[in-house]
Amino acid sequence: MAKIVVDPITRIEGHLRIEAEVNGGKITDAWSSSTMYRGIEKILKGRDPRDAWYWVQRICGVCTTVHSIASIRAVEDALKIKIPPNAQLIRNIIMGIQNVQDHVIHFYHLHALDWVDVVSGLKADPVKTSALAASLSDWPNNSATYFKGVQDKVKTFVASGRLGPFANAYWGHPAYKLPPEANLMATAHYLEALDWQKDVIKIHAILGSKNPHPQTFLVGGMSIPIDPDSQNALNADKLIEIKRLLKKAQDFVEKVYIPDLLAIASFYKDWAAIGGGDGNYLCYGDMPDANGNLWFPAGIILKNDLTKVYPVDQKKIAEYVDHSWYEYAGGAGKGLHPWDGESEAKYTGPKPPYEHLDTDKKYSWVKSPRYDEKTMEVGPLARLLVAYGSGHKETKAAVDMVLKKLGVGPAALFSTLGRTAARGIDCLLLAQQTPKYLDELIANIGKGDYRIHNGEKWEPSSWPTEASGYGWHEAPRGALGHWIKIKDQKILNYQAVVPSTWNASPRDAKGQRGPYEASLIGTPVADPNKPLEILRTIHSFDPCLACAVHVMDVNGNEVVKVKVS
């Protein structure tokens, strides 16, 4: 038996560390630890609730709009503010393109290198690569000359002797299964996606000044004015540019991402039986129309049973800190609802520099949120399963299409591969749905409705002495909730329960493993010195914190140095 530590886990946002026990070539137990804390919730106390969206936006610069959305929704819920339809539609467009862009970056730039061996692509035949690409889609960049050009660039780069961010990776690992041609095609699309993502996200700049961290949200609406007769407002010129960029986004997803995903997945079908978890999934639902009806339904799936979708009750959410470096005033063993949440840090881990954490005690800066005392996986897979179970038409069609093309049944979804496929399907659905919000916005403006903000409760003097509210959002990584209490026009308490808190959580008071931990059990590890398989499953969640892995002997806890060729 060996204990593996991966720290830092790279190609994620943030600082994440995984420790895992390997027995007979498979993982038998695992611990997930976040190793960074800033205390933003503490910093927020006493500040203007209207500013909160800007502060919490800095929780994450990758999913850079999601905390702002959840925050303004929480304050609007507390103060009972209804926003104008245009503001809702603009938010939907911002959320839609955020998800689409984020999923593509995750697939190509954070996750693909777990499946794609870039170096193997040097051996590919460009003619055969072209034939492969043409058989998958009619994307124009598919000639042999094009792939030869990409291959030559990579060759020149490798010949320079300095591999930069591609150095020291697991190239040549036996778990890589793609033929050289598929590797070359995916490498070409890795580079194309880099250019694509910076273009399509200009939608955020048009509607919100810049990306990352668009500066456009307001409690009560949005700050981008609308006026077809002004050059300083959202006008026809800008709307048409957004339309063009949404089309560009949709084209890439339909003609590159989805075909690549299906092609790559077809070589890794064994991963449809690896990396499932406890089988509980939570989705808050999102994409409201003008009446507040959600396009993605909310719900809970228990124990992989898609025949029953349970409603979500926010009162049943509680966070535990029995294995997290915090101390509750009321003591251990109990969960706190976010309105009454506490974030008092109390580090009890080893003194740095350390080789390993004491995983029997407290071992992470992530708390353990539980729903009705149960662990919940959140993210695109949860979103699709809840929608699928609820009979959501578009989701059902897209999921069935992918399952059919891969020749697998719905049970394949409860896995590492299922999580990765679900993200692609989610991306496709939103790439197709978001342009509809733009059409609605244009129609609304055409009717002469330019309202973007409801200012009735803008002045704090109009607020009640005390108020509390919560705001939910289906972020790219899943169910995100912010809870706020306001007193005397200031923030009394603020708690964010983010997707990666659900997924990366350590054990709770009952000793139940968090979703990362549970999903790693049973994962094969061919070479403990190169635990590529751990990265596959952890990356399939799209973690939003930074991580690391080292290898230790379980008895002596001695770190085994990973050899580098």
Binding site: D7, P8, T10, R11, R38, G39, I40, K42, I43, D48, D51, Y54, W55, R58, C60, G61, V62, T156, A159, S160, G161, R162, P165, N168, Y170, L194, Q197, K198, K202, H204, A205, G208, S209, K210, P212, H213, Q215, T216, G221, I224, P225, I226, S230, N232, A233, G349, K351, P352, P353, Y354, Y450, R451, I452, H453, G455, W458, K530, A546, A548, V549
Partner: protein, 377 residues
């Protein structure tokens, strides 16, 4: 100045491919290359006549090794890097620099990742560039940010200490940022406070403007030294002027035309956002001219006031965001009738004082951006 050849002095000559060779191999034409050089020259606020020097230096540069450290951050500055257009991130990573360590994008993980870092900082000691994103935690022995079991402080001391120069990317690394906002629960500090005495460029902004970052690289490659900076360590080419003095809505301020309510006629017509809390009058940054996302927009152009994100401690001194900045010259009677908080007054006064002091200090004989700092008083 253009004769500063990065490759000749520092042991990098064994790598025979220059930036221009690599760009050529990637199918970038000579014309496009020169266009790129012109764009960078403009971003550096240099006269067009410098473009050939930029081109010459880039043609000779041999991809200096760069390591990027993520500490108490949100990865927003990394994402900004991904949005770079001139040059694109692919060009930066593949052609211009050798980005040997960056947790968010590197293929290697865990031990292999740490070895990549160790290799670069040992092999190129005193020659690599270090970029830092995020603040550094000092409280309780720095336990609030650990990577590979080591504290951010110990990593910063080791890696920044051995670098030719360090760039603090974004406001957190430059000044402590949000984690250092009151009550600063983790004892978060800037790179300068954590590792005093190193050669350091501060590129604040939340997040950094990617064009300023790439222009800073190029400045280093072209001139072989760091750019002229103000007293807060910010390059003058990007932080030499007040937003208010470069703002496209300045005429409306001078004419007394203000947005009074979100979505009102003034808001739709692009009037001044001062009354909605804009901090442009106290913020030094080139947002109005450089803009973001390939010059698509910037906060004021999209209808929201500036929040002052490139200023130290703006989280505390410039909030609440929607409160009007008092004592702004030119606003007339209302400024004295409207003293909202002493912290705010102090913030504005301090910002002006710093730039005044800096003006007196910055007389360097061959500074290439001598005349860049004329309107900030």
């Amino acid at each position: 100045m253009g004769s500063q050849k990065f490759g000749k002095k520092d042991g990098l000559e064994k790598y025979s491919y220059s930036v221009s060779d690599l760009l050529k191999a990637r199918g970038v034409s000579r014309r496009d290359f020169l266009k790129f050089c012109s764009a960078v020259t403009a971003a550096l606020a240099l006269p067009v006549s410098f473009a050939p020097k930029v081109a010459e230096a880039l043609e000779q540069a041999k991809r200096p090794p760069v390591v990027w450290l993520n500490f108490q951050d949100c990865t927003g500055d990394t994402e900004a890097l991904l949005r770079s257009a001139n040059p694109t991130v692919a060009e930066i990573v593949l052609d211009i620099l050798s980005l040997d360590y960056h947790e968010t994008i590197m293929a290697a993980a865990g031990h292999q990742a740490e070895e990549a870092l160790e290799k670069t900082i040992t092999e190129f000691k005193g020659k690599y560039l270090c970029l830092v994103e995020g603040s550094i935690s000092t409280k309780d022995n720095g336990v609030y940010c650990c990577i590979g079991g080591k504290t951010s402080m110990s990593i910063a001391k080791k890696v920044c200490g051995g670098a030719a120069a360090t760039i603090a990317v974004g406001t957190c690394a430059a000044y402590g940022g949000i984690a250092a906002a009151s009550p600063n629960p983790t004892g978060a500090v800037s790179v300068k406070e954590a590792v005093p005495g190193i050669t350091l460029i501060n590129l604040p902004g939340c997040p950094v403007n990617a064009d300023i970052l790439s222009a800073s690289f190029v400045h280093y490659l072209v001139f072989g030294k760091i750019p002229a900076m103000d007293a807060l360590g910010r390059p003058l080419f990007a932080y030499g002027k007040l937003i208010h003095n470069n703002c496209e809505r300045r005429p409306h301020f001078d004419a007394g035309q203000y947005v009074e309510k979100w979505g009102d006629e003034g808001h739709r017509k692009g009037f001044c956002l001062y009354k909605m809390g804009c901090k442009g009058p106290a913020t030094f940054h080139n947002c109005p001219t450089q803009r973001y996302n390939e010059k698509t927009s910037w906060p004021v152009a999209a209808g929201h006031g500036c929040v002052g994100c490139s200023e130290p401690n703006f989280w505390d001194t410039m909030s609440p965001m929607y409160k009007r900045l008092p004592n702004v010259p030119g606003f007339g009677i209302e400024s004295t009738a409207d003293k909202i908080g002493l912290g705010m007054v102090g913030g504005v006064a301090a910002a002006f004082a710093v730039h005044g002091a800096m003006n007196a200090m910055r007389k360097k004989p061959d500074s290439e951006d001598k005349d860049n700092h004329s309107d900030d008083k």
